[in-house]
Amino acid sequence: MVLELQKPRPIWQIMFSTHHTDVGLLYLITSLAFMFMGGALALLLRVELFSPGVQLIADSMTYNRIFTVHGTTLIFLFILPSASAFGNYLVPIMVRYKDMAYPKLNAVAFWMIPPAGALIWLGFADFTWYAYPTYSVISAPGPAADMWIFGLKILGVSSILGAINFVVTIMKCKHPDLPLSKMPLLAWSYLTSSLIILVAVPTFAAALLMLLTDRLGASGFFNPAMGGDPIAYQHLFWFTFHPEVYILVIPAIGFMYEIFPRFSRKPIFSHGSGVTAFTLLAIVGFSSWAHHMYASGMSFTEKTVFMVGTLAAVPASAMHTFNFLATMWGGRIKFATPIMWAVGGIALFFSAGAGGVVNAAMPLDFVSHDTYWVVGHFHLFVMGTILFGTVGFIYYMFPYVTGRMYNETMGKIHFILSFVGTVLVFFTQHILGLFGMPRRIYDYPAIPEWVQMNIIISIGAFIIGIAMAIFLGNLIWSSAKGKPADMDDPFGLGGKYYFPYQAKNPSH
């Protein structure tokens, strides 16, 4: 346990620590803070979109800035750091080593996040989280745009450093008696996502640098007025960011690989299938990037190649679903909060994937591209699968990190409200997209179907907001005043799990 609030450690001890449990805790607190901040921005957007006309936000530029920072924050400052949080905390334990391979580098990678976050939030750029040229080169106002570019540069370096650490810890520092084939699937998820980071992220680092020099007028990579091609940026961007979505989802699936067997009181159905699925997804995930660019004017052959690459990744994801369901079969499942989140996450994972297959079919993309269908689709992944998996794992690890139990009833209420809200918001957004409402618009004409659906979506979003407020309260109150947990078996499941969740922090 690292966060004993009733006998608090000096804060500088945690801040200057390089121990993996402390760095993990720093990542966790930072990522949760940004989760609530990014989520609050979403609520502002939904108030404005409640009906046509101005509700809350006086001008479209402010609205554009809010959705840009919302997306940027939740992807780069919440999901990635929260994965790093649990990775740092658990990977050394899972490979039976004393710390991460490079503890000081680990702390450096963490400490890059607050300044990057500050750059993004103080700048508040408006060009969407993609930052497509030529808008981002010739039209987006600075210094917001430049601050965003620098912020993301720093985050990219932080990601790469963290990935190096995970790969070396797992491959080189793991205990000699532990073969890779017996390593927990959660550790495998960190290995595969880190390998994807190492291949994918440097491309975007290059693209960011090129974008910056273009903005300064020193180059014309993406500016046709200087002989460049805006589509080149899109290729570079999506070459990184399609695999990036697998970087985001793979740790969350890894969390579910811990939760399902533990709460079902039986081992995972097939460890080998999990390893195969992660590895396959990591490789095939690189072959589909331009499905984000179907409307940019690519040739028929190009589009076909990327459609095949996209569809090829579906069986790998489907294997995880099978594994989880087969694990539950024949178990004796205790439905505490963590596994409720995991089951909800898997149900939404399937819906997200199904909608994605529709997008992948080239002609159907003409219906859905850049409409609310896409917004609904990817949110079912980031909220429905990743956030649900992460929050479930936060509840699961809560007793191990704090030594206390969270309030179970509040946890279940949080789940039910979030699930209802998520379905209301994101399933409805699919239909709204089919009716043609584009994304990234500050206001919309009073088309009756659009108006009705936007009301439903905003109500769903407020329900999620209430649920998250309950979560925040539960986290804070239970960390300080929750009932002390039985550290060997906080959930009363019985049995001894195959690796101990207890990490020894040198300051305790």
Binding site: R262, S264, P267, A361, L364, Y498
Partner: protein, 87 residues
């Protein structure tokens, strides 16, 4: 296994042939141009039928698993792994 593949192929044929006929019949003269709205949306509806069918199967499976294997189910019995206590 072969039966499943066979049925699948028959189904695929049954669906592809009519749609190919429909679009092959579209010509290049006024009044006979391809109607892209019809063609695209009919593909969409076909995929939706498949997606919802699979969705009902998967969701139904999840609901059944959750209800049948919850520990409060009267038929619940300990897993073989609970005897040794390691899983």
């Amino acid at each position: 296994m072969k039966a499943i593949i066979g049925v699948g192929m028959v189904l695929a044929l049954l669906v592809i042939v009519p749609s190919v006929e429909l679009v092959m019949a579209a010509g290049d003269t006024p009044g006979e141009y391809l109607n892209r709205v019809d063609v695209i949306w009919s593909l969409f509806y076909r995929l939706m039928i498949i997606a919802f069918t699979v969705g009902i199967v998967v969701s139904g499976m999840i609901v059944w698993l959750v209800m049948r294997f919850r520990e409060s189910n009267p038929k619940a019995k300990p897993t073989p792994y609970e005897k040794d206590g390691t899983w």
